[in-house]
Amino acid sequence: METGRISAYKVEVCSTDQLKPSQRKLIEINGVEIAVMNVEGKLYAYRNACPHQGAPMVYGTVTGTMLPCKRGEYTYGHDQEIIRCPLHSWEFHLTTGKSLFDPCKVSIKKYEVTVEDDTVVIYFHKRPEKVSEKEVRYFV
């Protein structure tokens, strides 16, 4: 299981055909819930608990948002690159996990996720003692 990556352990999530675009999975490794999602063919994995009050990010909406701009302008951008918490709507960049309102201090923890031999795998920082898949009721 141990790989060349620094303290990263490979965990198999599912085969690629079980995580098609718009689909999501929820994996629990050593008690840590990780949301894995396919957004238009790109894979993302991050801690399920929102850093604010812990709401389940697997039910967050993937969207774009208004970019900072001059008074009176609205410029939409980052389409399909932002996930919003399902509860209080905090916004995070899917690629970095950083929040939009305070990217240096507030972020969701990201995990490396990739495809190896038609299998979606994530890399976890500790030896995975207990791995299970949890139900995702619907995809937002």
Partner: protein, 366 residues
């Protein structure tokens, strides 16, 4: 949730929202004439020209993302808050809730332009809530809706249903008449008689034609609107106290849900200061305004303010002795409630017990 759970074993959640899955759920409770007026039931227009159907007055400010929690969509894919069994599982079982008080969430009719329709709807809605929700689980309690623009009709509706033990308050809703006004006095007398507190919750602000004003003019965005809702509560408290409502109705309680509470010190201190100089204009007030406020006004905890230093909230509560005034609200399934008890993590155990249970027990009709 459990990481942050206190050792409490009782919780009253004072703000839970249920929604109609479909307008036709009201059909059994409305006679044919009202169904016709609303174009529901057999009068439903299923064509593309469905422009004559009834619509709830809705808040015209749109939330940037979703005003309802996207993690609360029901197992059948319906609107959050439409399935009584799922709500029990998703909220009550997670929070270990003793009682959850339903404030109906699908739209308020109090400020609607046709008051006759509001009266018919209120009766239908109270029946629907009772049949579909109260009977579904013993943990459900409800506030009854009414037509505050017609005090006589409101009192008749109370005579009809207020004896039901599961009804714990009167959901009055704001209209463009200040709450201290004598327009409401007969309602207050009846509420006192039935032991029901008056409950206010944002909904009508900026929706119905009899909406309360936003003082200096309309807000431009949802953010501006939502932030300034707290002003409505402050204005109403000043009206209730100055008009002497609590001298006239010494047992009445008025509960403001979802207006926050950290503005309370400023309201109390300013009113006390003014009373010392201006009491002559309100000679019926016999004591400091802050004392009336403390005895008669209750405030929901949500949307809880988040100070730079979280523990400062406790100092603020102590400053104005508001320990008995605050009521826990999850606001499920709205976007601006608390997911768990993390927001109260710094609160002393004794204060948590009051906020989570004792204060609600004292303030509502339990």
């Amino acid at each position: 949730m459990n990481d942050h759970a206190t050792d409490r074993n009782q919780l009253i959640d004072c703000d839970v929202h249920n929604f109609l899955g479909d307008l036709d759920e009201l059909v059994p409770y409305l006679d044919l004439s009202w169904q016709k007026m609303m174009n529901i039931g057999k009068f439903k227009k299923d064509s593309v020209l469905n422009i004559g159907s009834f619509q709830f007055p809705h808040v015209r400010y749109s939330h940037a993302s979703n005003p309802l929690r996207t993690d609360a969509i029901t197992p059948s894919g319906d609107y959050p808050g439409t399935d009584p069994q799922f709500l029990v599982k998703d909220l009550f079982e997670r929070y270990n809730t003793t009682y959850g008080i339903l404030n109906v969430g699908h739209g308020s009719m109090s400020a609607y332009h046709n008051i006759d329709l509001t009266i018919a709807y209120s009766t239908a809605c109270n029946e629907w809530m009772y049949d579909k929700w109260i009977k579904a689980d013993p943990r459900y309690r409800m506030t009854m809706v009414c037509a505050p623009l017609d005090p006589k009709a409101t009192i008749s509706e109370m005579q009809r249903v207020a004896h039901r033990p599961e009804i714990v308050g009167l959901n009055l809703q704001n209209v463009n008449i200040p709450m201290g006004s004598r327009h409401f006095w007969d309602i207050y007398e009846a509420a006192e008689h039935y032991g029901l507190p008056i409950v206010l919750h944002p909904d009508t602000e900026g929706s119905g034609e009899y909406s309360p004003s936003q003082f200096i003019g309309p807000a431009s965005t949802y953010m501006e609107w939502h932030t300034t809702l707290a002003l409505v509560a402050q204005r109403q408290i000043a009206s209730l106290v100055c008009e002497g409502v609590f001298e006239k109705f010494p047992k009445l309680k008025v509960i403001f849900i979802e207006y926050g509470f950290s503005w309370l010190p400023s309201v109390m201190w300013r009113m006390d200061k003014n009373w010392k100089a201006l009491r002559e204009s309100v000679p019926w007030l016999k004591k400091l305004p802050s004392e009336y406020i403390r005895s008669h006004i209750r405030l929901g905890t949500q949307p809880i303010e988040e100070p730079f230093k979280p523990a400062d909230l406790i100092s603020l509560i102590q400053m104005v002795k508001a320990e008995e005034m605050l009521l826990f609200c999850s606001d499920y399934p709205h976007w601006d409630g608390e997911f768990d008890e993390r927001a109260f993590v710094h609160f002393p155990q004794e204060l948590k017990r009051k906020i989570f249970y004792d204060n609600a027990l004292e303030s509502y009709r339990f």
